[in-house]
């Protein structure tokens, strides 16, 4: 599905990357607050759902080639974090949904975890 569809499903606000919503296809996603887990167990993920809002979330996404981050529980990062993501062309969304229902709604809509699993490189 496109990030635009993700936004509609989660009734999310767009913090940056508005122009990329309908041209960015997401095939898999993961939800985590520990960036170490994202770096360890996620492979080929297009989207990260998290309750963490510090700059390292964007840097982790950058390293993992994740092109969309959804902040759950209505969290909004500092403007400097939004700028950092915007510079890297990473889309930032924010939703009032909590992590579990946010993941559940996307999964039900057909977005699976994809080829995640312990990365053996």
């Amino acid at each position: 599905m496109t990030v635009g569809e993700v936004r509609n499903i989660l009734n999310a606000g767009v913090l940056c990357g508005q122009d990329l919503l309908d041209v960015t296809e997401i095939k898999s996603a993961c939800g985590a607050d520990m960036m170490s887990d994202v770096l360890a167990f996620v492979k080929d993920q297009g989207m990260l759902l998290t309750g963490l809002t510090n700059p390292q979330v964007v840097r982790t996404a950058e390293m993992m080639d994740i092109n969309c981050i959804v902040f759950v529980r209505g969290k909004t990062p500092d403007p400097s974090v939004v700028r950092l993501a915007d510079d890297k062309r990473i889309i930032l969304l924010t939703t009032e949904e909590r992590m579990y229902p946010a993941c559940g709604k996307l999964y039900r809509a057909g977005l699976s975890e994809g080829s995640s699993g312990k990365a053996t490189a």
């Binding site: 887990d37 770096l39 840097r59 950058e62 390293m63």
Partner: protein, 137 residues
């Protein structure tokens, strides 16, 4: 051969990862395949985070050769008393404050081992740690 050198500022968690970003950009510019770039970027980023949260920063050096890339991370932090223990998944000495930032799950060194083709960790308690990672191209 390309040689890159970065001072990693241990007092600045916000900018942590900049060296890894720069290396990723450089590797992309010289045409390294994206799957290999991702492995290198993740491993170096984990190392950079480790230097910031455990060792008050350090030095990151990257050597790019036609057939391999070597990353050497050197710090003068407190050192690792038990390296085999530190290599175990889930073992961490990070504080709760670090965990609240999303790190300290005890996956740093295991990730670096998983993503690199060779990992060497040398450490002396009270003197510092040297981590050498090699990636075959």
């Amino acid at each position: 051969m390309i040689h890159l050198r970065y001072e990693v500022d241990g007092s600045d968690f916000v900018s942590c990862g900049k060296a890894s970003e720069d290396v990723k950009r450089t590797l992309k510019n010289i045409g390294i395949p994206s799957e290999i770039i991702r492995k290198i970027a993740i491993a170096m980023y984990e190392g950079e985070v480790n230097m910031v949260i455990h060792a008050n920063g350090g030095l990151a050096e990257v050597e790019i050769l036609p057939d391999r890339i070597t990353i050497v991370l050197t710090d003068t932090g407190k050192g690792i008393p038990d390296i085999p223990k530190a290599m175990e998944e889930g073992f961490s000495t990070a504080t709760e404050a670090i965990r609240e930032l999303g790190f300290g799950a005890g996956m740093g060194l295991p990730n670096m081992k998983n993503y690199s083709d060779d990992l060497k960790v040398e450490s002396r308690v009270g003197e510092g740690t040297k981590v050498t990672m090699s990636f075959i191209l």
